[in-house]
């Protein structure tokens, strides 16, 4: 049932976008047709969100063309994209909690009466009318504060409808919804499609794509890979297109005999975040936590380290139970955590390199309650040397380092504590290939020295190349566990997108 007319409403051709040295989009390409729901899929970091933000007018592409109704268009800001008839529903709805629902819908476009005064009555009436059309019960006069995510999304959708948007982009709209809410959303998407709007539906969940899309585009590593009508695709072929790259032989394999169980996580639960997560990491073993963004990987790591308190279940190190919610106890027990966001969480950006490296080891450096600068520097120099950190002066602020060397500084900080368990969250995100290989070598050396390593990574080649075992999370639950030999990119993606397979 190809209802598309030949002329796309909106298309993006060969768009490129870089942020500093990171190339988020190398070849973004998409064409949206009226009366069609277009699915956009790809792994984490494939460039989907960057593409959406270009359509939204939030980012300007470095190269490429945006074509609206057959004419080239340039959006400098969100307003221009809006007035061109494009409405974006972001994953995290962006409402104003202090304004009423009706005001949120009409912000900046309130109906006016004489003397440019806002016509509040008409505003409420129109909002109520759209709600009724969609079969939604929501009071336009209530404040937006306290609305559920699903209702907030509805408000965003109604906002899109009242601006007479012709192109509606939904960036992972179902991520935070319950099943009934997803059904309601699908009903609305279908209504939009039937009215002749073009809908771009970005999602990780392939069942959803098959449920509502007429056409699918796949992106990988910032590039457009394929676009096909849904009838010509299967789950298999989409997943193959999403991951389909050669395994690079970048990964050092230092075989090591797994030792005793170092970390034992038993039925760990944090309500609404992750549920009933159990796994073990042995000394000398690298275990990867895989899954999509939002599957709860980082949250599990934070709970193990005690940053967030768990509601149920236990964490044991070397057979001793850790008190929940205490990073101090976790550190004393020998856990190190290299966080996902090194600028915000891993380093104190304005501190010098030496102070950052010594920061977690002040107990060792301290003499009579004071921290001698000389001792601190010797300590930092020693570790900088071991990790081959490239720096100007140790007294320079740590932000002067490149991304890869910043990451090494974080690693140095934790390695200096001689951890028995090292948790690394996205250890190679945003760093160059050379340093990446060094970080990989370092991790596998650590494992061979008997350290237990728990690695979170969104890069499947990294997961497959480094890990001895792989635990896949989906929506806060352990979906599957793979040994190195039985894992493949396809199998991991299947588990990560929630597709249950029969055990072969």
């Amino acid at each position: 049932m190809d209802t598309a007319s030949p002329e796309p409403l909106l298309s993006l051709e060969h768009a490129e976008k870089s942020f500093g040295a990171v190339r988020a989009l190398a070849d973004g390409d998409i064409a949206l047709f009226p009366g069609e729901v277009h699915g956009l899929v790809g792994e984490n970091g494939a460039g989907k969100s960057t593409l959406v933000k270009i359509l939204a007018g939030v980012h300007r592409p470095d190269a490429g063309r945006l074509v609206l109704d057959g004419e080239e268009a340039i959006f400098d800001n969100a307003k221009q994209s809006q007035s061109a008839g494009i409405a974006i529903i972001f994953q995290e709805p962006t409402l104003f909690p202090d304004l009423t629902v009706a005001e949120n819908i009409f912000v900046g476009m309130q109906p006016l009466k004489r003397f440019r005064r806002i016509d509040g009555r008409r505003m409420r009436r129109e909002a109520a009318a759209v709600f009724q059309q969609l079969g939604v019960r929501l009071d336009p006069e209530r404040l937006a504060r306290g609305l559920s995510i699903a209702d907030q999304q509805l408000v965003e959708i109604v906002k899109a409808l009242t601006t007479n948007a012709r192109v509606i982009v939904m960036d992972e709209p179902t991520a935070a919804l319950t099943t009934t809410e997803v059904e309601r959303l699908f009903g609305i998407v279908e209504t939009l499609r039937a009215r002749g709007n073009a809908v771009l539906f970005v999602s990780h969940r392939l069942e959803e794509i098959f449920a509502i899309c007429q056409r699918v585009s796949v992106m990988r590593d910032g590039r457009h890979v394929l676009t096909k009508p849904i009838e010509e695709l299967t789950t298999q072929s989409i997943i193959r297109a999403m991951v389909g790259r050669d395994m690079d032989a970048l990964f050092p394999t230092t075989p090591s005999e797994p030792g005793a169980v170092v970390l034992k996580v038993d039925r760990l639960t944090r309500e609404g975040v992750f549920t009933d997560v159990s796994f073990e990491v042995r000394g000398g073993e690298i275990v990867a936590l895989a899954g999509l963004v939002g599957a709860g990987r980082t949250e599990v790591a934070r709970a193990v380290f005690g940053i967030d308190r768990s509601d149920a279940g236990s964490v044991e190190i070397d057979g001793r139970r850790l008190p929940p919610g205490s990073p101090t106890a976790a550190m004393a027990a020998g856990i190190g955590l290299v966080p996902e966001d090194r600028r915000q969480q891993g380093l104190v950006m304005d501190f010098s390199i030496e102070r950052n490296i010594a920061l977690a080891s002040l107990d060792t450096v301290r003499r009579a309650g004071l921290i001698p600068r000389g001792a601190e520097r010797r300590f930092a120099r020693d570790w900088a040397l071991r990790l081959q950190l490239k720096y100007g002066k140790l007294t320079n602020p740590v932000w002067t380092l490149s991304g890869g060397n910043q990451q090494k500084a974080v690693l140095a900080k934790w390695l200096a504590r001689k951890p028995t368990l090292l948790i690394v969250d996205e250890p190679t995100r945003g760093i160059d290939v050379g340093t990446k290989a060094e970080v990989h070598r370092l991790l596998s050396e650590l494992a061979s020295q008997g350290v237990a390593v728990l690695m979170i990574s969104s890069e499947l080649p990294e997961v497959l190349g480094m890990a001895d075992r792989i635990i896949v999370l989906f929506e806060g639950r352990v979906m599957r566990e793979f040994a190195r030999a039985e894992a493949s990119e396809e199998a991991i993606m299947h588990a990560a997108t929630g597709i249950v397979e029969d055990a072969a």
């Binding site: 939204a56 939030v58 800001n77 969100a78 307003k79 809006q82 972001f90 962006t94 409402l95 104003f96 909690p97 202090d98 304004l99 005001e103 912000v107 900046g108 309130q110 006016l112 440019r116 005064r117 806002i118 079969g135 939604v136 019960r137 929501l138 009071d139 006069e141 209530r142 404040l143 504060r145 306290g146 609305l147 559920s148 209702d151 319950t178 009934t180 059904e183 309601r184 009903g187």
Partner: protein, 346 residues
């Protein structure tokens, strides 16, 4: 599908629960009025003269200037900014008006008010430009301009003073004149607060102020011109403070280099007591003006019942903390009422 009647019933039930929540939010203004009544009643029992005509006139005139300043400050705070420079702007504007009259005794009143407005707008433009273009937090920017403007004022005025004898009678009369027993200044403040309260509800630009203060990032995504709106808020606040300088001079009759020192804090206290959220997004000009009236009434009441004026400051501080605690309490109480229950599709 449920029937329309059932739909309506559900909506109405829901609305009634919101009415409770919303009344609690608006309770603030009622609460201030209530506090005002209590203060006035208690003081009057102690000293019946507190309700005399002249005493009420004094209360209104005294609160009028703070209430005027509170209009501008409310606009700025609603956008999640703050303007600390208003006391200095008022001071330099008042002195400028005095100097104009001293040197040109026969100048028309319109010119004088234009001078006051112009000085205020200029200061507001400087504040707004630094905050929006250089993207420096307004707390720091206006703290800086507070001292700079006061410094210029001090250098200009030196030890000089302009007093009532150098001002024309028509001008002085603004400060003490009454219509039907109500002081001019009180009428001016009431009219201004009324207009501002209405405007803040009714114009797109004003609703943009609330949107910006509620969530600046979302405002940008929604296409609200955040920079120019914040700039406008500072210009309005500056302009109002400039005009307030002229009124201040007409009320006090003499001006030197320290006119209006510390006013910014009285005004911010009034605004916060009046229910304007210090982090922006909610609150009304009416509430802020009532806050000004309440604080001023408490001041006067303490004088009447012979309590040292030091205590009145402590009490104002206590009231401020109580207002913030009240906000927090309401927020916690109201949150569950505002949370929607999960619904299935109708």
């Amino acid at each position: 599908m449920t029937t329309l009647a059932e739909d309506r019933k559900v909506v109405e039930q829901r609305r009634s629960s919101h009415v409770v929540a919303e009344t609690l939010f608006r309770f603030r203004e009622l609460g201030i009025v209530f506090a005002l009544v209590v203060v006035v009643a208690a003081t009057t029992i102690d000293n019946p003269n507190f309700l005399s005509a002249s005493s009420i006139q004094n209360l209104l005139s005294g609160a009028a200037i703070i209430a005027l300043l509170a209009i501008g400050e409310t606009i700025v705070i609603v956008t999640r900014n703050v303007d600390l420079s208003i006391g200095s702007v008022l001071g330099i504007s008042a002195y400028a008006v005095g100097v104009v009259y001293r040197d040109h005794p026969h100048v028309s009143m319109a010119v004088v008010f234009l001078v006051a407005l112009g000085i205020g707008l200029a200061c507001g433009i400087v504040n707004g430009a630094i905050v929006t273009i250089a993207r420096v937090p307004s707390l720091v920017v206006t703290l800086g301009t507070l001292y700079i403007i006061r410094g210029i004022d001090g250098a200009w005025a030196g030890g000089n003073q302009v007093n009532a004898s150098m001002l024309p009678e028509s001008f002085n009369k603004i400060g003490y004149g009454t219509v039907a027993g109500i002081p001019y200044l009180g009428i001016i403040a009431i009219v201004a607060v009324g207009i501002a309260t209405y405007a803040m509800r009714t114009f797109r630009t004003a609703r943009d102020f609330y949107a910006i203060g509620s969530d600046p990032a979302a405002a940008r995504l929604a296409g609200v011109p955040v920079g120019s709106r914040v700039f406008l808020a500072f210009v309005l606040s500056g302009g109002i403070a400039g005009l307030a300088g002229a009124f201040w001079l007409s009320y006090f009759g003499s001006v030197d280099a320290i006119a209006g020192v510390g006013y910014e804090f009285q005004v911010i206290a009034a605004v916060v007591v009046g229910g304007v959220a210090i982090f922006g997004g909610s609150g009304t000009v009416l509430g802020a003006a009532l806050g000004a009236l309440l604080l001023n009434t408490i001041n006067s009441a303490l004088v009447v019942v012979n309590v040292s004026s030091f205590w009145s400051q402590a009490l104002a501080g206590g009231l401020l903390l109580a207002a913030i605690a009240f906000d927090r309490l309401i927020a916690l109480r109201v949150a569950p009422a505002l949370r929607t229950r999960r619904r299935t599709r109708g």
